[in-house]
């Protein structure tokens, strides 16, 4: 995030509960489009952003009082960087989970109903970075435009 970039910066903070996250994701997606995110990338960004924020709501704040999710976006001509910060539990092992696709199995009844989130994030981003400091998680998603 240290590269010089004088383009659009957007930020939004909202309580880490499902209903607020739903509104926050929709608001950020709309504002990124208004600020010139190319149309061919908007779907990828929307999907990855939603999965990353849902992970914070469902896992980082699981079993503890939830606080806020802070999202900072920096949109340049060639790339979009989104940093999602929270004060919840760290990622297990301080590592970004693998992006293995969920196996579909051999029958309808065995189909997975979850476990797609990190796979989608890996598929749709150019780079994922994770840092933990001062009791906060910072997940940076980079999209090359």
């Amino acid at each position: 995030m240290n590269r010089k970039c004088d383009k659009k910066c957007l930020e939004l903070s909202f309580p880490a509960v499902e209903a607020e996250a739903s509104k926050g994701i929709a608001t950020l997606s709309a504002r990124l489009t208004q600020n010139g995110l190319p149309e061919h990338k908007t779907d990828d960004v929307k999907i990855a952003l939603a999965e990353a924020i849902n992970n914070v709501v469902e896992h980082a704040y699981s079993g503890i009082a939830s606080a806020n999710v802070q999202v900072n976006c920096r949109l340049c001509k060639e790339r979009l960087e989104i940093v999602i910060s929270d004060s919840g539990a760290p990622l297990p092992g301080l590592r970004i989970p693998d992006g293995k696709p969920a196996q579909l199995g051999s029958s309808i009844q065995n189909l997975p109903e979850g476990g797609f989130g990190w796979f989608l994030i890996h598929q749709l981003t150019s780079e994922i970075r994770y840092e933990r400091y001062d009791g906060n998680n910072h997940l940076c998603l980079r999209f090359d435009l």
């Binding site: 209903a19 739903s22 929307k46 999907i47 309808i108 997975p112 797609f116 749709l124």
Partner: protein
Amino acid sequence: MALTSSTTGTTQVITVRADRIDAAMAIQFKEDMRCQTEGGPTRVILDLSSVEFIDSSGLGAIVASMKQLGSGRTLDLAGLHPVVEKVFRLTRMDTVFRLYPTMDSALSTAVEQ
């Protein structure tokens, strides 16, 4: 979660009256689908033409909706926006569900049961 339903012969069409199916409404969607499809026809077509966004929780809720139909019944999907179709394609769920670009194309395609 607003769903409306109409049944013609052996086909039930359920229309989603919401612009997203995401983590905030996935559980409600699954429950509402259970109510709508209990004891109904063998073929259910879900009209997603109003749904402009879906996340993996919403995808999971649609998968659960198909499972709770039980054997001998199918859940087909119609009117998918490109971003919704992309989530199905990336997760390979497009190989599990029949996807139709429009409700008309879904209705005009006879399905072997």
